[in-house]
Symmetry: C2
Subunit: 186 residues, 2 copies
DNA sequence: ATATCATTGTACCAATCGGTACAATCATTG
DNA sequence: CAATGATTGTACCGATTGGTACAATGATAT
């Protein structure tokens, strides 16, 4: 039996802090304050400091999307997997109350530090959606364009929802995007 | 004749720094280094410090969008104004190499500080597009939904372009959005 | 030429930054 | 029980943070 926390328990807490404050805005003191873990514990689990913490968070995010979003899109029934994506995305981002950490990292200098993980995230997301659309019968070009439109639309909807403090615009945006996809897959 | 710089000359420099580094990531030392102005000058022009600098930048951005984007959309020929928007947006954001400062501020804790300006920016942008679409003959609901889709699509395209370091995806996204608008206004 | 006010560089401030060192404590195992 | 290794709190580090004070310099108007 381990102590109260192990590494895997801390990562989700870190994710939420990075999400709210951004990489630069997240200080060790805020981490200590919100996790209840002192520097001793933090540097024990993450000897590489803040950067290792952020990398652990990015890895966990990648793993979640892989199993919940990408894999179904690549393997399962195309229409079903796309329908599930809208639901899962809405849940994961709490209807726009939660932002996309990867998208946020991409927008400022933080990108330099994590460019590989950031690029991967979107490449694989778009690729998985394209795969599903291809199986639904569309040409590579059409599938690629619609996949990009979908992922970009989600990211944009997150920005709008946060900017306006209104989750309805997020839900509405997802519905609009879903209609675009339905029109293309019938 | 004033000295080399006046307030209005500094604001665009500040805008570029905030864009690249984010609000938290922008330190006075970086500002000094990139503008060539010491603290004496900076606090002379912006007694309120970093926050006043950011507010000045946001005000300038708002003024630019008002004259270049919003006003034409509200007053000029609807189809023409929309076509001009795609071109101006592509130029302004340097095909995705430059990010939207307001969108970036919206994504982290910085939003708390500038929520009024951030909300205004998107409300007015969406409102202006809706106005043009309404004049092009569409119902309020349709116009609102398409306006939201357009603005969100632009923001999402900026995220993708930065994340992938690829400006072609930005240009491609704008073209896709433009087609959606054309389909709706004919 | 002098008075005035805008502009600037520099020294300085307390607070906080990310990170290190290490002794104390904890649970586990032999 | 003793030994071991994982976990933790605390003190401390130099560097940097945003901001202030102020004297020196610059330009301008009388």
């Amino acid at each position: 039996m381990k102590t109260v926390y192990e590494r895997a328990d801390i990562v989700p807490l870190l994710a939420e802090i990075f999400r709210e404050l951004g990489y630069e805005g997240t200080s060790l003191s805020r981490i200590t304050e919100r996790t209840g873990l002192g520097k001793g514990s933090l540097y024990h689990f993450f000897p590489g400091g803040k950067e290792e913490m952020a990398n652990a968070v990015l890895a966990e995010i990648d793993a979640w999307f892989e199993q919940a979003i990408y894999r179904p899109l690549r393997q399962d029934d195309a229409r079903q997997a796309i329908a599930a994506m809208w639901v899962n995305v809405n849940d994961y981002f709490r209807s726009g109350r939660r932002i996309c950490l990867v998208g946020a990292f991409a927008l400022d200098d933080t990108r330099e530090r994590f460019s590989a993980a950031i690029g991967d995230y979107f490449i694989r997301w778009i690729g998985a959606v394209r795969s599903a659309l291809s199986r639904a019968g569309y040409s590579d070009d059409e599938a690629q364009a619609l996949a990009e439109e979908g992922v970009a639309g989600i990211q944009g909807a997150l920005v709008l929802a946060r900017a306006l403090g209104d989750e309805r615009i997020f839900i509405r945006s997802l519905e609009t995007l879903a209609k675009r996809f339905e029109a293309a897959t019938r």
